[in-house]
Assembly symmetry: C2
């Protein structure tokens, strides 16, 4: 039985030749230029359009890029010029970010002493995840003789309703429980550190504007209460992100403008102690997820017990989430298409699999496609965030995937 | 509430110093020698013992190693000397295997023309996955002017009952449906290729001896029927593997000797046309899974809402399966321990997490441990198969893990 798939972002269209075009160029020519498949293509104009849309919807709110979503260097370089800060989650990401943006902050529950020292030495803001980490950071700063920039990550008592991933509410490894935050901030200030404010992350991959509005309201209230308890205005309140994109059949895109309008209301009525605070939203997936497409080539077309399989040269080693094996309870189809027959009507039901010798390696399950042959290109959409870097690239020893960032003008 | 964990293989014991010893050496000294954490340690003596146990239980049956389980070069080199063949799943694995074993076979549903050509040129046996692949292989052999070694992978109409992963039965991307196999083998023989026999894989990670016995019986029956239909004795019947290891609480190890005894019976009564066939079993996980341990260091100890978290410098980017995010429906605890307090009694309930900034990164959920501190080493057991290579190593840009193979004598 045919299974549904998610929607293909509207920017991806068939060219006059009837094949998929990305940033004005055919998938086949992108593959030829890159030197083969599998290939990730990121459309920089789509990312820029997302950033512009955010700016329009959230005037006066800073935009940070969560580098973990996609740290491919040309993409990161392009984004860094258009955002107000880069949020990193490891020393590796930090090295990629340094020099690209004025504001870099480093969050993550397992920072080693070496990472803390590198961050402080480079003038990066540390989002402290615990009292123990705070002490280690202060010690490292003392060793270096540098005044550290320290923010405190708060584990809020709420989370974004229906969030794809819970990052707040209840016992969590992230941040410091809200009730212990004032004492920790006082400790930091007393120790002579530059206190940079709060990082309050309540969830991710939310598609409900209402849920995000509610979480942002609660975040501003919490930041105000914490600031009152401390008696100091936080220079910055990072409201987290959590803006989702629709991956699966039936999911609707987030009403970004509704969230922006309500946040403006919330901030207009914010407690006096936050009057001079800056506010930032940290986005990864929402900025880059839809802008990426993963292109693979069909190497075999076969039938087993009446079912047609299209076997590609790509797979879960490059696109683990699309295979349904990255923390998902039930496998659902990402949007996929035959790139080289993008303008053709669906003719048959096929299952698109990767080249790995494991039944886990599925890219499209019982999907309707034009009749594809060996040599055709398959496109897996929504491949811009948590794609190649979040996949087991070494699994089964296949060749690495290629990556390219393209823009309409190039 | 405390959650149970799987059993720790009996070979891992506390030394006189009360810490975990692997191959006669303390975890701390192994880490010091390797240069830090995270570190995978593979005990070669444990692998050798598994091989010896197989030899005792399956006299006269060939043993192949499925390289995809773990292709770490020193481990692969040690295993290659003790087995009768290496089964590879990509050109990358093939390059690692060539020169190490007489018999190398290459299975995998998405072999490219370049891979087929490389395999044929190197004298590697191809396990053909489809009629289309057979034609491409014959064409490649023609181009090279080489007589190819071709076996046919059969998609059987049965699968190992309760198998962790279904690889046979019904419509599958692997192999050729049994009823079409005789025609394909005749085509190969008629084209002048060296026909090497059948590869029949009915599942993996099975712990039930009865289920394996039943599948092996059915496999021999099927091989006999196919051989009769072709009228030629297959030189080799690869019976697949599927021998599981217990990962989780309540799972019992496979009764290997029972499977071996029954297979001997089955083979004693095999159809006359298989009298001169050789039989092989292909094992990966069962040979190496229990021999590996993943060592990470605690970098933070924190409490959130009354729950204790031990934050390590390792995580799901090295041990995706242990985090519960690799195709599992429900996260269950792999066996974990505080390596530096291995001889101590459990004192507290703790949740052991990795350093990644995502709630998916859990190594041990609500497990009982001795009271551990920053600097202690955590051991995650059963890390020898589908560990580092099956994990998203680049995820969040953390440093790569180290690997070492050790033996008691070293």
């Amino acid at each position: 039985m045919t299974k549904p798939m998610g929607g293909i972002p509207a920017e991806f269209r068939a060219g006059e030749d009837g094949t998929l075009h990305v940033a004005g160029r055919s998938a086949a020519s992108l593959v030829a230029d890159a030197g083969g498949t599998p290939l990730f293509v990121y459309d920089l104009a789509m990312v820029a359009a997302r950033i512009a849309r955010f700016r329009g919807a959230f005037p006066g709110v800073s935009l940070h890029y969560a580098v973990k979503a996609n740290s491919y260097a040309p993409l990161l370089a392009a984004i860094a010029k258009q955002v107000d800060g880069l949020d990193v989650a490891s020393a590796g990401e930090m090295r990629q970010a340094i020099g690209r943006a004025e504001h870099i902050s480093f969050a993550g529950p397992g920072k080693t002493d070496a990472e803390l020292e590198a961050a402080i030495g480079a003038g990066v803001t540390l989002n402290l995840e615990s009292e123990g980490e705070a002490e280690r950071a202060l010690t490292a700063a003392g060793r270096l003789g540098v005044r550290p920039k320290l923010a405190v990550r708060v584990n809020p008592d709420f989370e974004i309703r229906g969030s794809g991933m819970r990052m707040g509410g209840g016992a969590r490894p992230f941040g410091v429980d809200a009730e212990r935050v004032p004492a920790l901030v006082r400790r930091i200030i007393d120790a002579g550190a530059e206190w940079h404010g709060f990082h309050i992350f309540a969830g991710s991959q939310a598609l409900s504007a209402e849920a995000l509005i509610e979480a942002q309201r609660a975040t501003v209230v919490l930041a105000g209460e914490l600031a009152e308890a401390i008696g100091v205005t936080p220079p910055l309140v990072n409201l987290g992100g959590g803006f989702g994109i629709p991956y699966f059949h039936g999911e609707q895109p987030l009403d970004l403008e509704a969230v922006g309008a309500e946040l403006a209301e919330t901030l207009a009525q914010r407690p006096p102690i936050l009057r001079h605070s800056a506010f930032a939203i940290e986005l990864g997936r929402w900025l880059v997820g839809e802008a990426g497409v993963y292109l693979t080539r069909i190497v075999d077309r076969k039938v087993s017990h009446g079912k047609t399989f299209l076997v590609t040269d790509g797979g879960m080693h490059h696109q683990l989430a699309a295979s349904g094996n990255f923390g998902q309870l039930v496998r659902r189809n990402y949007p996929v298409a035959i790139a080289t027959r993008f303008g053709s009507e669906p003719e048959e039901e096929a299952t698109i699999v990767g080249c790995l010798c494991t039944p886990l390696d599925r890219l499209g399950d019982d999907v309707m496609t034009p009749k594809a042959q060996v040599g055709d290109l398959v496109a897996v959409f929504l491949a811009g965030a948590y794609g190649l870097s979040a996949s087991p690239q070494a699994f089964l020893g296949h060749a690495p995937a290629l990556e390219r960032a393209v823009s309409g003008g190039s």
